[in-house]
Symmetry: C2
Subunit: 149 residues, 2 copies
């Protein structure tokens, strides 16, 4: 459902104005879909983001600050996300020996297992953008990168 169909409005001030609304709208659609996709796994898209960053670091501990830098939304509250994941035994969190202000966060085996289960299904979810060709996806990415420079 396009932006116009969704909000039942056809006239926008100009293409730039429409673009801003369209980006908020399109990003929101994907996020809502992600939330629905992750629901059976009992984690949020943001928690998934954290787990993915931790898996990428393999066994190397990650600080709360580093996590936050790597989050898709850099204003995410990494502290709270980690606390929730700890409650679910998907991560561990320990004081860093070198700097006791810092925390060492690592993914657990359960966390890795969960990501494996999700990996098996996520392609189906990611299909939602495949009505655009690869060339069109590339164009969109280039324009978004230019927009965000």
């Amino acid at each position: 459902m396009t932006l116009q169909e969704s909000i039942k409005q056809n006239k926008f001030k100009d293409e730039h104005h429409k673009l801003m609304l369209n980006l908020i709208y399109s990003g929101g659609l994907i996020q809502a879909e992600q939330t629905r996709f992750f629901k059976p796994y009992e984690i949020s898209p943001q928690q998934y983001n954290v787990l993915r960053i931790l898996r990428g670091q393999q066994t190397k501990p990650v600080s709360i600050g580093l996590l936050q830098e790597r989050m898709l939304d850099q204003m995410s509250n990494a502290s709270r996300l980690v606390e929730k994941l700890k409650q679910k035994a998907l991560v561990t969190r320990n004081e860093c020996k070198q700097d006791r202000r810092q925390m060492d966060v690592c993914i657990t085996k359960a966390g890795l297992n969960l990501l494996e289960q999700i990996d098996a299904k996520i392609e189906a979810f990611e299909k939602r953008v495949t009505n655009l060709s690869k060339a069109e996806a590339k164009t969109l990415n280039e324009l978004l990168d230019k927009l965000n420079t």
Copy 2:
């Protein structure tokens, strides 16, 4: 700051996968900027969305359900947004005489005044997409509409 610069990652599985992250990222950037822009006016972007819909209806009362249909995020909780705006005296909310389940929501003079103040400044905010040409904005809109079909 592009997606890659932001999350410090250059490799994506493919252009489609990158696109999904890029859309979430780009939409989030705009929303965060909107939140900052509206902060001095003491309303949220979602409350602004409600006021704009009400202004568009002029003096015609709007039901909670109709509001919700017109919201940019159709999963918005229109009830609560209206309640907050009522507390700020920016809208009125009365029982509909024809159907007492429904509420009639209207914008107040104070609400209209606030929108006028915002209108005077919002062009500066909307400039954030003008590093794309009109043709590029149009292309992006077309691709986003195709994506969301």
